[in-house]
Symmetry: C2
Subunit: 233 residues, 2 copies
């Protein structure tokens, strides 16, 4: 009987992992599609991102419900409890990433309706590529319990923050030179901002992976501090 319960419990945990990775795959697609919708440009693709956002939301609710059920029925402890809590936390970050991809897709539609921005596409494509890879790596780190990969995602996030800041400076200068472009450039600025937020959430996921594997809560730490703690453990 005990063995049966434990087998069932492991199946529950595996199911949570699978559902999380499926949701992650969907959000990863949303990210890349939203960027493509601007750079191609492709309004149909943008519309598809808007519609798919509802599926992301539905998956969040389902996963959260399943986590609560596992907590209530199985009363997990130690590393099993960490797994359930990590899935719940990562779910929330994925949902937020979906929200941000939704914002990018909306900007794609604005840009198609009100005219392309004269600048910012190079930066958008560049930051979009880094952030998309961060999302993939963060999910991989979770799937493989890979702490080194998780740390590399946190490192990439610093790079994104730098690129984002330099793009902002450049676009502010451009708007001063060509004030008629302001509302169109603002659309690109909002899209860049949303991508930078997706990067933040990927870095959050990386932190949850470190918590899951090492039992360390490394939130709000500098990169150096995080690396030191993980190495020492």
């Amino acid at each position: 009987m005990d063995q049966h319960i434990s087998r069932q419990f492991n199946a529950d945990l595996e199911e949570l992992k699978t559902q999380l990775l499926e949701m992650g795959g969907l959000v990863e697609q949303q990210t890349i599609n939203a960027v493509k919708a601007i750079t191609t440009p492709d309004s149909d693709l943008a519309e598809r991102v808007l519609v798919t956002e509802e599926e992301v939301d539905a998956r969040e609710l389902k996963l959260d419900e399943n986590c609560t059920l596992v907590l209530a029925r199985r009363q997990p402890a130690a590393s099993d409890l960490r797994m359930v809590l990590s899935v719940a936390r990562i779910t929330r970050d994925l949902e937020r990433m979906g929200d941000e991809a939704h914002k990018v897709a909306k900007m794609a539609i604005h840009l198609n309706e009100h005219g392309e921005a004269p600048r910012g596409y190079v930066e958008l494509r560049h930051i979009g590529t880094i952030v998309h890879q961060m999302v993939i790596s963060a999910l991989d780190a979770f799937a493989r319990f890979d702490v080194d990969l998780a740390i590399s995602v946190a490192q990439e996030d610093k790079k994104v923050d730098q690129e984002y800041k330099s793009a902002m400076r450049e676009l502010a200068t451009y708007m001063m030179e060509d004030p008629r472009s302001i509302s169109r450039v603002l659309n690109i600025i909002w899209a860049l901002r949303a991508l930078e937020r997706i990067g933040d959430h990927a870095a959050n996921i990386a932190e949850h992976v470190i918590y899951l594997v090492k039992g360390l809560d490394v939130r709000h730490q500098s990169l150096q501090e995080m690396e030191r703690q993980v190495k020492e453990q």
Copy 2:
């Protein structure tokens, strides 16, 4: 013995509630101080918001740890489990609100260093007042299990979204008229955006309160749908 455990358990839950409300009080102060730092203007106050942000972060980690301990030791079920999960979720929203208040404070410092923006202060004060009240009401709704108050917070959030959009339109127009003001106006825009996000998180807290009291997950629902579900239950 059982009675002792149950008493201890109730004390644990009360302690979580108290800690959450303390963290909430701190974040509420951060919100109002960050807005004041811009509107007064007062750079010292802005610096104090930046420093206090570390305490907000520390409280998040502590509260999360305590929630995990209660889950591991007490293995709560039903409404007790909902309480622990709600505290964990609200904690995360409070930490994000703290982050956004930190962004507003940074903009206060930028505006003091690089010159005031010629517009946007009226909007900032106005939206700041609504959002600050939302934070207070969301925490009150949690403290008193008050679903009606929670719904009113969600209603206020719609108002903030409208005010925010109209302020954005106005400021974009202003930048076109006076391009030299662009970088200063952008600082106000970032501050407004951060306030709008604080409003979103207050609305999230309201949703967690509805989950806590009614057991209903009303995320991603329209206001009408939320009100209908709550009434029917």
